[in-house]
Each structure stands twice: as structure tokens, then as C-alpha cells.
Amino acid sequence: MSFVEYSDCIQDGDVAIVYLGHESMTPVKVKRGAQTQTRYGVIRHSTDLIGQRYGSKVTCSKGGWVYVLHPTPELWTVNLPHRTQILYTTDIATITMMLELKPGSVVCESEPQLLKLHIIVSVSPVFILPVCVCVSGTGSGSLSHAILRTIAPTGHLHTVEFHQQRSEKVLEEFKEHRVDHLVTVRNQDACKDGFGVTGVADAVFLDIPSPWEAVKHAKAAMKKHGGRVCSFSPCIEQVQKTCEAFSDQGFEEINSIEVLLRVHDVRTVYLPLPDFGPDPSVQIQPDSTITPPQNHASIAVKTTIPPRDVQGHTGYLTFATKPRT
């Protein structure tokens, strides 16, 4: 198992997602000899998980059962421990496409740990556009996992987090998820200290309270020939300042958008039919005196209903293109 490559079977040391039922899941670190308690009973890792195929049904001690799923960035996003507000899949998907992320070779030679990757790239290095991404505001790592999935096996992520505890924790998770070879975590302040790299990034993502302060650092981190940048901010004032900073720094195609997820719950509803009383225009047969109106007749309709309350706003996404400089 890795967050960037599927495996068929569960192995010792994997992180698996236990599916307990609708919108109820939990991540489990698979460890020989360990047990996990669920409301359906105990899962014994050695016998119930290790060696089993991902996606199979595991019967717990109480007779209930669960499915064990292969982790993906999307499953991780709904199951990760929250250390901060996180980005959700709807925004992540938009960011990934709009930043034009894709697998790519690593270019930043100052990153020694990446040299080994060149073997993989060697298929046809000339044709692969290099991709390297800088992120400020690693937070809980929700977006980071999705980026790593998309730029693997040949891209690299530089992520900056000012909160030391959080930067340590997220690095630990990257190791557990076997993606640490694709990422460099720096514990610094992107607004003051930048990203720790210069001229290597194809894309930069900003998720910090004052993104406008980091725009010049973003520019410096990006490749000479240009690239894409995105800033996520909940408040419109932040967007205004960020757009101004992008414009001041010569960015082009500045575009602020908002994407909102709408969930449709499929339901069969039963609608009663009104009783308008006996219809005198319909001749009643004298022998059948009883023609009672179908008082409680109803029709079934397959429909969808929205959840009562939904997320009405996460943040604005501001994209821009760094031109050739």
C-alpha cells in the first residue's frame, strides 16, 4: 500500500480504511498482533486484515462485518485527524486541475533525495514537462496527499508549515503513507522566509491568512518560464488583497472562483393522492353500492432530496499564471 500506488493485499504496516457503514469510516494502522475495536466487534489484524484483499468483507467478533478499503487521498480527506481547517475534495479537485498538476520529472537538483527518481523518468525524459509544487500552509495534509498522488512518481512537493508540531506530525504521516520520498516539509513562515527553493516550481498553492504577503516568494519559487498559482481564502477581503498582489507582481489570467458541492440523496417518497369524493359523472352500478374513495392511496416517486444543511462556503480560489520572466 501507498497513497500513490494500489496494492491488492493488505500488508503489515499499511494504513487501511475500515468502512463501517454510510458515511462512517475509520483509518487503521495495520500491525501484526494488533486489534481494532469497532461497534461490530473486534478486528484482529493478523487474521482479519493481513493477507486479505483490499475491498474484502471482514467479519468482526460480534458477527457484524465491515469492508476494508485501500486508502486514497479522497478517503483520507474524510478520515484524517483534524489539526486545522482542512481543504475538501471539491476544492482539491478544482485546484488540481486549475494548477495543471500531473506526473512530471523532478528538476530541483538541490534536493538530493530525488536523484533516485530519475531512473523512473528515464523512459523518455525529454517529453515529460517537469512538475514541482510548492504549498504554504500544509495544515492537516489533506491537499498534500492529493497533490502527491497526482504528481507521483516523478514530481516533487515542497510544503511549508509554520506550526512546528503540525509540520512534524504531517511528515510522520507522509512516511506512514509511503509518500515521503516525494515531499519536502519545511517548518518556516512562507510570508517571511518563502518556500526554501528558487526557480523550480511549476505551481504554487497558498493557504495562509495573508497570502498577499507570500506572493513575491511564490514568484521567486517558480520556474523562469512560468507556471500556475492558487490562493485559497475564506474572506473576500483576502481575495481582494491577493488579486492586487498578483497583479502587482505581474501575474496574468487572474481569476477568482468558488466551487460548491451539492449532494443529492436518492429517496423513494410516497405522496398521498387527494380524495375529491365520489365523481357523479361516473355512473355508479346499482349493484355495487360500495365504491369508497381510495382514501389513503398514494404514489411512489423516486427522487433526490438535498441534505437539510450543507456547506455554503469553504473559500474563494484565486488562480493566476506567472508569465515567463
Partner: protein, 476 residues
């Protein structure tokens, strides 16, 4: 292997490249071909001068359809609009506010004034412009820009750009799939390098190309195609390096029942090869200009029915009979080679499918999605994501219901998305006034080990479970 990243050669426009033209929000995909006239936004020009220039260069259109790189630092929005009025109380609508006549403007044009300069002249000669609100000024400039500016930027194609292009120009060809919805699909299906992905689409190849871009030439993509041949115009527009195409396989769904039943014979001559031969044309088609694609009425598989009616049975003068015979033989030989190629391709795709261990499934078509989904899900490993797009929610309700009945999937979710663009300008910030009415619907989910005992599978999914179940980990 010294990667010189900023080597300009990687970013230089070359003959034969697939590129995207841009003006404002309008895009068009074309191939760089010598002396080829291109029509874009009602203007025609030649792309020859673009060769050797860098990607993302903006060109001015000179007379004779010649492109000239614009001098750098000629910012697009520098039109001087200082001194906006706060409201329009003083504006009288008498139609006499513009002092320049149409003839004056033509003269300016003949004098060689650029679009930007003409607009500035129009502003300077408008008696009402300075009294207009900023909002109205903005609208005025935009309108004039559209009329008088003639610049075009040449971009390297990408999933983002092509998705926006198709949505803006020809949404009917991509089943009205909006770019943000496509973005969701790629993420929900966990498309990434080194996986094996099935794609069924009738979106001109846009969805297929987007999947391939995300896989970066690693792994394999199997295009399950309906009718005569796979549609690939959109894929060409991506301008992928040649080795990307080695990862692309194709399988005609008309053999799907046979494949599932295990009766598909890929060693013998394809029984329906005659029927499908004409589709080679579709594959060879390198026309990147999507406008020429004729999916609108006659869809590719319909067209294919009409071709290949050949010259058989026609009367040929005796003298030419021999030559004709030779030609026929050559043709037959060619045909044989092509059939052999086709057979090999089919065999390769079939062998990829036979393991029933694909890692992802993406469906986006004008077909009723339910039968397609039910058939193709069989080829996925357990614990793999799938996503189905439809323009119509009703179709996905049917899929959802069928999957719930049958079991074998979890995390089913029927969704759509709101996309709002914002105008962010000093004192004029608001959502863009025009908005896309809808981007279509998605049904996504994850496969699990198939199981025949339906009631058990459905039991728990129906009950509204607590949002997060407490789980305690214990060692020992």
C-alpha cells in the same frame, strides 16, 4: 541526463505542434501547419510566424494575416479610464455622445492604429464616458475591445485549457460536461500514474485525454468505445508525446458480451472487421481543429455504416482490368495488414481486461449510463473508485438504485457543483453576472468484494449511521 529545466527548447512552438489560441476567454485548438489559414474570432491569419517563438507569447495581427509578437510590458488593461462618475444621473441618452464618426474610425485603422489606441481615441472623444459609472465604463471598454483589438496568445494545451475551450465553444460535443465537473471526475476516480483505468466516453476524447494527462504516460488506459471506432480528436489536441499513445488501448463494446462470457476469439479474423475498417480513418484523423469534427448530427459510428461500399460490381473497361486487379490486390493486402493490426490491438486490450483488475472507471457519454456502468464495473478490482457523469440526474438515480440492489459498491454519492466566477476590482467586487446554468451530475463510489447476498449488503447502508464511530485501538 542533465536536466536543463529552463531550456527554452522545451517551451518553443514547433511546426506540427498542437497549440491553443486564446483571446480573452475564447480558446481554439489548432495544429501549427505551414501556410495554413486559420480562422479565429472572425479573423483569419497564418501561424507560420509563431514557429520558433515561446509558448504563451501574445501576438498582434498585422495586415495579411501575419502574426507579430507583441512587445512585452504592454499590459492588457491599461486603457486610461480615470475619473469615473458615481452614478448616471447626468447622462442624457441623445445618441450624440461620440464625436468620432464611423469614417473617422476607419481612417484611424488605416493609419495603422492598434486596437488599444483606437479604444483610447473613442474614450477621449466620448462626451459621456467620464460621467459614466465605473461599471458602465468597464462595459463600454469591453465592448469596444472586442470590436477593435486583434491580439492572440498561443498556449501549450492542457486539460484545463481544453476543457474550458470545449465547454465554451462546443458543449454539445462533450455532453455539456463543465470543466470543474471534469476536475471532480479525475479526482474522484483517483486517476494517477501507474494504474489501469477504463474510460467510456463520447466527449470527443476530452475525458480520455484528461485521464492520459493525469497518468503522465505511466500505466495503461483502455478506451471502451461504442460503434465503429474510438473518437480521439480531443486526445490529439493535447499534443502528447508519442510514447503516451503506447499506454492507450481500445476495446469495442460490441465485443463486451463475448468477453464477459469468455467466448471472444482474438486469434481469428475479427468477424466484424469489414464493418469497422473504415474507422481507421477516424483514428488516423489528425485534425486538431475540433470545429471540423462532425459529431453533431451524424455520430462517428453512424457515419461508419455508410462508407466502404466500394467499387465492386461496377463496369470497368477491359484494358484497365489488370491494373485494377493489382490495385485491388494491394488494397486487399493493406486491408489484411490493418485487420491484423486491429486484431492485435483487440487481443492486447482483451488481455488487459481479462484479469478484471482495473484500478479505475470513468464513464461520460450520451448513452444511458446504467447498462454501461453495470457491465464495466465487472472489470474493476475491489476497493477501486469509479465515477459516472451524466447530463441528467435521472440517469444517475437509476444507476444508484441498481447498484444498491446489486451490492458490491460502497460510498455511493450523487453530486453536482456550483461554479461561480468573481469580478475582483477595487470597489466593484461581485460574482460575475453571467453564470453557467449547470455542469452535469456525477455518481461516484468504491467497489468492494462482490457478494450475492444482497440483503446483508443493503441492510446497513440504509440505516442512518452516526457520522463518526468511536473506534479504540488496542495492542496485544
Amino acid at each position: 541526463m542533465a536536466d536543463n529545466v529552463d531550456d527554452d527548447s522545451l517551451y518553443t512552438i514547433k511546426e506540427g505542434d498542437y497549440v491553443v489560441l486564446r483571446r480573452g476567454d475564447v480558446f481554439k485548438a489548432v495544429q501549427i501547419q505551414p501556410k495554413k489559414k486559420v480562422i479565429f474570432e472572425k479573423q483569419w491569419f497564418f501561424l507560420d510566424n509563431a514557429v520558433g517563438q515561446l509558448y504563451s507569447t501574445t501576438f498582434e495581427l498585422a495586415s495579411g494575416g501575419i502574426l507579430q509578437p507583441r512587445k512585452p510590458k504592454d499590459p492588457e488593461s491599461s486603457t486610461d479610464t480615470k475619473g469615473a462618475g458615481t452614478d448616471n444621473r447626468n447622462i442624457q441618452d441623445d445618441g450624440k455622445s461620440q464625436k468620432l464618426t464611423r469614417d473617422d474610425i476607419e481612417t484611424l485603422k488605416e493609419q495603422g492604429l492598434k486596437g488599444q489606441e483606437i479604444i483610447q481615441q473613442l474614450i477621449d472623444n466620448s462626451s459621456t464616458f467620464k460621467d459614466k459609472t465605473e461599471y458602465a465604463q468597464d462595459k463600454y471598454i469591453k465592448k469596444k475591445k472586442k470590436k477593435y483589438e486583434n491580439i492572440v496568445t498561443i498556449l501549450k494545451p492542457s486539460c484545463r485549457i481544453l476543457a474550458m475551450m470545449y465547454h465554451g465553444r462546443e458543449p454539445g460535443k462533450i455532453c455539456h460536461l463543465r470543466y470543474d465537473t471534469l476536475a471532480q471526475m479525475l479526482t474522484l476516480a483517483n486517476i494517477h500514474a501507474n494504474s489501469k483505468v477504463l474510460v467510456f466516453e463520447t466527449c470527443a476524447g476530452l475525458v480520455l485525454g484528461s485521464v492520459m494527462e493525469r497518468m503522465g504516460g505511466f500505466g495503461s488506459v483502455i478506451q471502451m468505445y461504442p460503434g465503429g471506432g474510438p473518437v480521439r480528436a480531443g486526445v490529439e489536441s493535447f499534443g502528447f508525446p508519442a510514447h503516451f499513445h503506447d499506454t492507450l488501448h481500445e476495446f469495442p463494446i460490441c465485443h463486451l458480451n463475448a468477453l464477459i462470457a469468455g467466448t471472444l476469439d482474438t486469434t481469428a479474423k475479427d468477424p466484424s472487421a469489414d464493418l469497422k475498417e473504415s474507422d481507421m480513418a477516424a483514428e488516423v484523423k489528425t485534425e486538431a481543429e475540433v470545429k471540423t469534427e462532425a459529431e453533431q448530427k451524424g455520430s462517428p459510428e453512424e457515419q461508419s455504416m455508410e462508407t466502404n461500399s466500394g467499387a465492386d460490381g461496377s463496369l470497368v473497361p477491359k484494358k484497365e482490368e489488370e491494373e485494377e486487379e493489382k490495385r485491388r490486390e494491394a488494397k486487399a493486402q493493406e486491408k489484411k495488414v490493418k485487420q491484423e493490426e486491429k486484431r492485435k490491438k483487440l487481443a492486447a486490450a482483451a488481455s488487459l481486461l481479462e484479469g478484471r483488475n482495473a484500478d479505475g472507471l470513468v464513464i461520460a457519454s450520451r448513452f444511458n449510463p446504467c447498462p454501461v456502468l453495470m457491465a464495466l464495473l465487472k472489470f474493476l478490482s475491489p476497493s477501486r473508485p469509479f465515477v459516472v457523469y451524466s447530463q441528467y440526474k435521472e440517469c444517475l438515480i437509476e444507476c444508484y438504485t441498481k447498484l444498491k440492489e446489486q451490492g458490491g459498491t460502497v460510498n455511493l454519492k450523487l453530486t453536482d457543483y456550483w461554479l461561480r466566477h468573481y469580478q475582483v476590482l477595487p470597489n466593484r467586487t461581485h460574482p460575475v453576472l453571467l453564470m453557467s446554468g449547470g455542469g452535469g451530475y456525477l455518481l461516484s463510489g468504491t467497489t468492494v468484494a462482490a457478494e450475492r447476498s444482497k440483503p446483508a449488503a443493503s441492510r446497513r447502508d440504509e440505516e442512518p449511521a452516526p457520522k463518526r464511530q468511536k473506534v479504540t485501538e488496542t495492542e496485544g
